[in-house]
């Protein structure tokens, strides 16, 4: 059955407040903050912000089953050029922000996406684009994206939950695997993922179901072997990312009767080393409307940065942000299970 956004369905889980209520109901699970307290990590403080993650909108050509953004073709929230300019101003004033990680939805659908990438590139920052692959084929106007990425030395990070169609399509929609392979080949053709090209193409694996991800290193080797043998596709690294129990993935967990056992898995797999390396310690996330968050997950739960820090990109103040305490909730267990999880994959070697 095709997936539509929770918002479009008028689902109660479209409401961030309701998601938090669900997450906090499980009295059998220890509070995440208490868990950090036991390991002397509370209040959780940044170690120094070096990544600005910008969510340029919730519009997407896909509607994946597990999407934590509740993105889809029906979503109209899009970052304006004015807000992008505020991000550029913050970057210009803070050279410590070495990496800009552009995400969405499908960020390429934002009409000012290319302008934004060009301006970031003028500032000499490393740009990551979280490209869902199928967008490259969705419309002729996107067919030249591989060349555009290459021209700006963008690091492309793309989801491919499995090296076979069955599980990829179950999570991301019918036909997505085949289109993703075509898009990967187009990226390979311009040099992405090819050794010594200097063009980085990384894939993201996240489990298509209520289970935790595999160890990154071994799965990467398996992905490389299978994608090369089956499809002649090359890539650089595989990032294993745990699904956090929010938004559409939370809806899946509840509807499939897996919520409790999944939370139990996350809590049981709590790893203090992973807790010390969570990505919110070096990242600030900007929402489509310019508001600031500790991470993209907090953004979707509408948990703004602590009130001691500036709330909006127009008042960006790196020092105040580096002094803030990170806002935590039960979904954070997804970042600290096993080998840890972040937008850059596993956090503990």
């Amino acid at each position: 059955m095709p997936v539509t956004s929770l918002k479009k369905q008028h689902h109660e889980l479209a409401d961030a407040g309701f998601q938090l209520t669900v997450l906090q109901q499980g009295a059998q699970f220890p509070a995440f903050a208490d868990k950090l307290q036991q390991h002397n990590l509370l209040p959780l403080k940044p170690t120094g912000t070096t990544i600005l993650q910008v969510n340029v909108g919730k519009m997407c050509n896909q509607a994946c089953r597990h999407c934590h953004v509740d993105a889809g073709p029906d979503r109209r929230e899009i970052m304006t050029r004015e807000t992008m300019q505020l991000c550029l101003d913050a970057l210009a004033h803070n050279p410590e922000l070495a990496i800009v990680d552009i995400t969405g939805g499908a960020p390429e659908m934002n009409p000012d996406f290319r302008w934004f990438v060009q301006e970031i590139s003028k500032l000499g920052r490393q740009t990551i684009v979280r490209c869902n692959l199928t967008i490259i084929l969705a419309n002729p106007k996107y067919h030249d994206l591989p060349e555009f990425f290459k021209a700006h030395k963008v690091q492309v990070v793309s989801s491919l939950p499995y090296f076979a169609a069955s599980r990829t399509d179950a999570q991301r929609g019918d036909g997505v695997f085949e289109k993703s392979i075509k898009a990967l080949k187009m990226l390979n053709e311009v040099g992405y993922g090819i050794e010594n090209s200097g063009l980085q193409l990384d894939l993201v694996y996240n489990p298509s179901g209520a289970f935790l991800p595999a160890a990154q290193q071994t799965l990467e080797a398996e992905f490389k072997r299978r994608l090369l043998a089956g499809y002649s596709v090359h890539f650089n690294k595989l990032f294993c990312i745990t699904n956090l129990p929010i938004s559409r993935y939370l809806e899946y967990l509840l509807q499939s009767g897996n919520y409790e056992s999944y939370m139990e898995k996350l809590v049981d797999a709590f790893n203090p080393a992973a807790a010390a390396s969570v990505m919110c310690r070096n990242t600030i996330s900007v929402g489509w409307d310019g508001y600031l968050y500790d991470c993209d997950f907090n953004q979707m739960l509408e948990l703004h940065v602590a009130p001691t820090a500036p709330q909006h990109i127009r008042n960006f103040d790196l020092q105040a942000l580096n002094n803030r305490s990170i806002v935590l909730n039960q979904h954070c267990y997804g970042c600290t299970a096993g080998a840890g999880s972040s937008c850059g994959g596993q956090t503990v070697v």
Binding site: S166, P207, F211, A214, A215, T218
Partner: protein, 111 residues
Amino acid sequence: MEKTYYNPADLKKFGNITELQPELGNKFFDYYGEVFKEGALTAREKALIALAVSHAVQCPYCIDAYTSDCLEKGADENQMMEAVHVAAAIKGGAALVHGVQMMNKIKELTM
């Protein structure tokens, strides 16, 4: 009394077997942990073998545990079902090969 012999929640209590015999129980769990470490076989290969054996010994706890484990180790449904077929082939073959014994006996007993 439980209404069924198997209760899924009991799997989590497996470790409690050490309560009545700590020394042997702990030795078993240490050994178990060592066996499943990445070695000449990868952790995924071991999980697939464990899944096959779980079916051969028909242990519902093990089937639950190693189905999850195989998924978590990145095995796919085809690999998992092939592993079950390996178990079935060996179990079926083990039954059938005894047909030779039966045939020997038939020869012995008949004219």
